[in-house]
Amino acid sequence: MNLSQANRLGEQAFECRLGDDTLRGIVHVPATPLGIGLVLMPAGYKYRTGPHGFYVRLARVLARHGIHVLRADFRGLGYSDGELPQGMIQKLWQNVEDGCFSDDAAALADALRARFGLSHIAAGGICGGAITAQAAAAARPGSIDSLVEINAPVVRTRMPGKAAPKRTQEIEREKANYFRKFLSWSAWRRVLTGASDYGSIFRTLFSRTGKSEADSAPDVSVNPLFDSSFEQTNAHGTFKLMLFGGKDARWFDFADLYLATRLSGRESGNSWRVEIVPDANHEMFLEAWQADAVSRIDAFLHERAAGR
């Protein structure tokens, strides 16, 4: 079959070996390279295109601005060799949160650097992609120079049947919603006709604002790998853009369990910067959120390219 090796946007298949397996992806090669590259890691079982193709759109913008971008699959995902263990999806997410793909991440980063002679390699992705990149950067500081973490999971996934505790911002948001409904005739009609979930209303209204289950034991829920790799990358000077959707549960977790405690509320430090895409959800569905996220990542990588 007669296939073009590259498309007109400069995108081409990319392969690297890891043991007996081949990892496969697509590299976006810029026309005017800045010498910096970004490896985008799969988010859970969602493969190299990212949720709703977000990685593809992000990579195309960054490549137009001089940045090499590799979107690649770990073993068992997409077109890469290997098998994922069968079972509950939450188990896969937990394995990812425990760093099961950090060797794959480091191998991809090393391969991108070697193939194009890049001086700076950033790595990251959404959710599982973020923790994988952070774990790899902590374990192999020479492979990854900076991190682009989108909605990074600070807590491990709970198995089904174990409810997540509500965080401060979630409780405040739900109370605001109930206040809005208090003024709504249709909401009152649901209450009066018995269509409402009275238990849920009661629990929300009488939750303590600013408190959550986690507050009584703030360290219990934090994923030890997130904690240790965050500290190690700080020690290595691996700069992290911690980008969150303002309405994503991962942001609520991070704000309550890490920013407020470990980072003492400081949204920027020597090796990290927290940025928020207002209102955005976990996978950045709306175009405006995607554009905001892309522009923040673009700016961050250009700072890295300029050596700042």
């Binding site: 590259a6 809005r180 309405k247 709306l286």
Partner: protein, 264 residues
């Protein structure tokens, strides 16, 4: 066997990503038609599982992405079912002129990809089709799309700013709405809405196999399809195409039907 990948141009100037695993003495060629929107991502591991089983049976396998999706170029907003069908034809033409086993061409698809592969088989009755969990009611799919949009609004803004009816008005006025991160055109919505498996044309015996999600109405639909010449089966599905709870890409029941179909 080695996987080769690259790009071919479609009729609209977009470049489609194509990956092929070619068997040396292939007993046939299978072109895998992806589902629509995020279902293509959710089903990726399932397609991979089926592709591996096909390769083990000695088939060459071609996978690809429609324009504006996956690794292909193009804008999703320009997508409609006609263009998806055009993309399938471009890939089939390129594959059959180059691959071993192209005399025995099979199209495989899940969900919207299943509807599209059945459609492609009807355009040329030398082709055969295996359709897993096709969309049986397009209206229900559109209702789901609108629901995803309103749920996103609620989660983000604490209220639904645009109701489902208002979203449909926006679609008519502005030509697009957002569904799970994709910009979806009015043409795609109106064509998907018209998907109705009970209106399929008559099939040649042995030409197409359909595996339906077992529901309250699936037995009736299966009987109707069989009266139209299709081999039809029902099987329970965990709706893995929406948001999978289990990683089990082997799908033993549908695969058993497919393996028998491929052996004939």
């Amino acid at each position: 066997m080695k996987l080769k990948s690259g790009y071919i141009e479609n009729r609209h100037g977009d470049e489609l990503f194509v990956a092929i695993t070619e068997a040396p003495a292939a007993s046939g060629l299978v072109v895998m038609c992806p589902p629509l929107l995020e279902e293509a991502t959710y089903c990726r591991l399932d397609y991979r599982g089926v592709a591996r089983q096909l390769i083990e049976l000695g088939f060459s396998v071609v996978e690809f992405d429609y324009a504006g999706t996956g690794d292909s170029t193009g804008e999703h907003l320009e997508a409609d079912l006609k263009r998806r069908a055009d993309d399938i034809e471009v890939v089939v033409t390129a594959a059959t002129t180059a691959c071993n086993g192209a005399g025995n061409l099979i199209l495989f698809g899940m969900r919207g990809g299943a509807n599209l592969c059945l459609d492609a088989a009807h355009r040329d009755n030398t082709r055969r089709a295996i359709a897993w969990f096709p969309v049986t009611d397009g209206n229900a799919v559109i209702e789901d799309w609108l629901q995803v949009n309103t749920m996103t609004q609620y989660a983000a803004f604490g209220s639904v700013r645009f109701s489902k009816n208002q979203l449909l008005e926006t679609l008519a006025d502005e030509g697009a709405i957002n569904v799970q991160g994709f910009q979806v055109s009015e043409a795609l919505v109106s064509q998907v809405r018209r998907l109705d498996l009970s209106c399929l044309p008559v099939a040649k015996a042995g030409q197409a196999q359909v595996v339906l999600e077992k529901t309250r109405d699936s037995a009736t639909l299966a009987r109707h399809l069989e009266s139209q010449g299709y081999e039809a089966h029902e099987t329970a599905a965990r709706r893995f195409w929406q948001s999978p709870r289990m990683l089990e890409p082997a799908h033993p029941d549908p695969w058993a039907h497919a393996a028998r179909f491929l052996a004939t």
